[in-house]
């Protein structure tokens, strides 16, 4: 059991961890653990009835997130965490529903759901862990892979333009959009707290180093940490158009709060509609 106890910095969140499932499948050096700890700390700090929180994950390394959290959690299909979460939220609005999954899962195979859930401004949270690659399946090209980067399916360097997630999210209608990296734990946590409070579709993208990505690009994982740490630039209210990631040619990765606006949610509009229709009958 010794290996299953959490180290001291995790003591305050131990009751939210399925300790019996440790060790996780995540590679030593993977950034997901930092997001894990930070999100659970935010849930604790948010203070509200913890059992209202539900985690929904798709498939992938990041998709294993829900499985290690001791809350009601659903590990569903590749790309389909968002519609599953929408079904949960619409059926039980008192739940605080958070999707945690990978970039390939959410904006690759699940891209259509991402766009339309943002457009309808569903009151759910999306934590998108962007490791620039399909990690779980061995390091193939993701829609986020930077130009020039090597993956198993772009062995000579990627020629696809990557998606700019903050721009996509804001164009689709998300009402809270932020991006942080695993080096920005305090900002990340504050953003998570805002996201819980925010009424509407929140997207928080976390840039997270990946052992598989590093290996395919002939780096040690520590070099990748160093590279990302140097390239990340926090900005005050950056424009989503600044969200493009081009690390191979050395452009900074812009972090910050891209969007934070109020707009009626699907859930509130729906319940008003039901009330109105039923009154007129």
């Amino acid at each position: 059991m010794a290996s299953r106890a959490l180290p001291p910095p995790y003591k305050d969140i131990e009751d939210l961890v399925r300790v019996e499932r440790l060790p996780t499948i995540w590679c030593p050096g993977c950034g997901i653990g930092i997001v894990f700890k930070t999100l659970l700390k935010a849930i604790k700090e948010y203070g509200d009835d913890i059992d209202r929180h539900v985690i929904v994950s798709g498939i992938g390394c990041a998709g294993r997130f829900a499985g290690y959290v001791r809350l009601d959690g659903y590990h569903v299909l590749h790309g389909r965490a968002i519609p599953f979460a929408v079904g949960l939220k619409l059926s039980k609005p008192q739940l605080e529903v958070t999707v945690v999954s990978g970039d390939g899962d959410i904006v690759g195979i699940g891209g259509n759901h991402f766009i339309h859930a943002a457009r309808r401004n569903h009151d759910i949270n999306v934590v998108l862990i962007n490791n620039l690659v399909y990690g779980m399946t061995g390091g193939q090209l993701a829609p986020t892979t930077p130009l020039g980067a090597r993956t198993m399916t772009s062995p000579y360097g990627n020629i696809e333009h990557p998606v700019n997630i903050p721009l996509l999210a804001s164009a689709a209608g998300a009402t809270y959009v932020a991006r942080w990296s695993v080096f920005h734990v305090e900002q990340m946590k504050r953003s998570f707290l805002k996201m819980f409070k925010h009424k509407g579709f929140s997207v928080i993208e976390i840039i997270s180093p990946c052992v598989i990505y590093a290996r395919r690009n002939r780096m040690e994982i520590l070099d990748m940490y160093e590279l990302l740490r140097k390239m990340c630039k926090v900005k005050q209210n950056p424009d989503p158009r600044e969200g493009e990631i081009d690390i191979v040619s050395g452009k900074p990765v812009v972090l910050g709060e891209f969007v934070s606006i109020e707009k009626p949610t699907y859930e509130s509009l729906y319940s008003e509609l039901v009330e109105k229709v039923r009154k007129n009958e």
Binding site: R80, F84, E281
Partner: protein, 390 residues
Amino acid sequence: MMGTKLIEPGKHFLTGNVAVAEAALLAGCRFYAGYPITPSSDLMHHIAARMVEVGGVFIQAEDEIAAINMILGASAAGLKAMTATSGPGFSLMEEGLDLGFMLELPAVIVNVQRVGPSTGIPTLGSQGDVMQAIWGSHGDRASVVYAPSNPQECFSFTIEAFNAAETLRMPVFILSDEFVAHSYGKVVVPDHSEIRIVERRRLDESSIGKALPFKVDDTVPPFAEPGKGFRFHYTGLMHDDRGYPVIDKEVTRKLLSRLMRKIEKHRNALVQYTVLDEDFAGSTMVVVYGSIYSIARTAYRRDREFRRRVAVFRPHVLWPMPDRELRSLVKELGIDKVIVVEMNMGQYMYMVRSALLDLGVRVEQLNLTPGFYPSPNELKEMVSKVMERG
């Protein structure tokens, strides 16, 4: 008739699609997600208005994949949920159906069949999705497939489908088609108190901390509502009683056999069929289902000579198959030839053949061109031709 309340007891004149929608609401369905596709769209139009009136949730999904995953999320939250689609949309839902089976989430999926494959003929019905509804899965699963033949059955089978879904905790199918969905017919709604409505067994909060999501002595574990403190994990991965993914021979065998046993165990309650054998003095049996049964039945009712020559066996539920019942009837009536009449290139025929394999009975197929419904007379002629083939 409709108002804000549920459909009133008494006689109504409804299409099959509207009958399904009204029965769903009466059965307690309070979540519908769907994506438009002919010939199921009018079901969605009806429920778009009615769901708001009864205070449930209606949402038009961005595609069928979203629709199935939304209704699974709704079911996970504890609501009775439904979607309706047609062939191409049903194909898109396949992966979600298997997730529902693994997570043990009740749901009702209506497939208003049209002519396929591919876009086929959107406006005409067929029975081309029988195999897909029964077998369309990666890995093994078994579910319940209802095949209504008229609006009245659309109504009653839908209520039964919700009951089966809740009892078995799995997605259940209604396989109608354009012909049934768009024909008007009399629908008699019984007194609401006479309608049996089943609710899934639920864990009560006193078991928090003790209960596990998939631990059962029986075949179907009780359901735990999220947000109450159970803190259960659910995964589409092969999992143990705690819902945790494991790669283990014993766990795999145990879970798969329990999931499959759900159908076997409830088989007798699920299996339903009709036999027409008045005046029968021959040795041929016609097996027919869904909309084609309603045509065959008219031919049968109209013609005494036809009644003398054929007996009709008609499953209400295609799966689980009434195979034992079919076998004993074939023996009892001295049948030497079975003709499976269906509007596809031969699907249910294979199941009939395997059910009767060792009885020395000839199983012939009569395949109607998908989309082109014969009149009762034409159908009778076609059956006679197959009979004369010796």
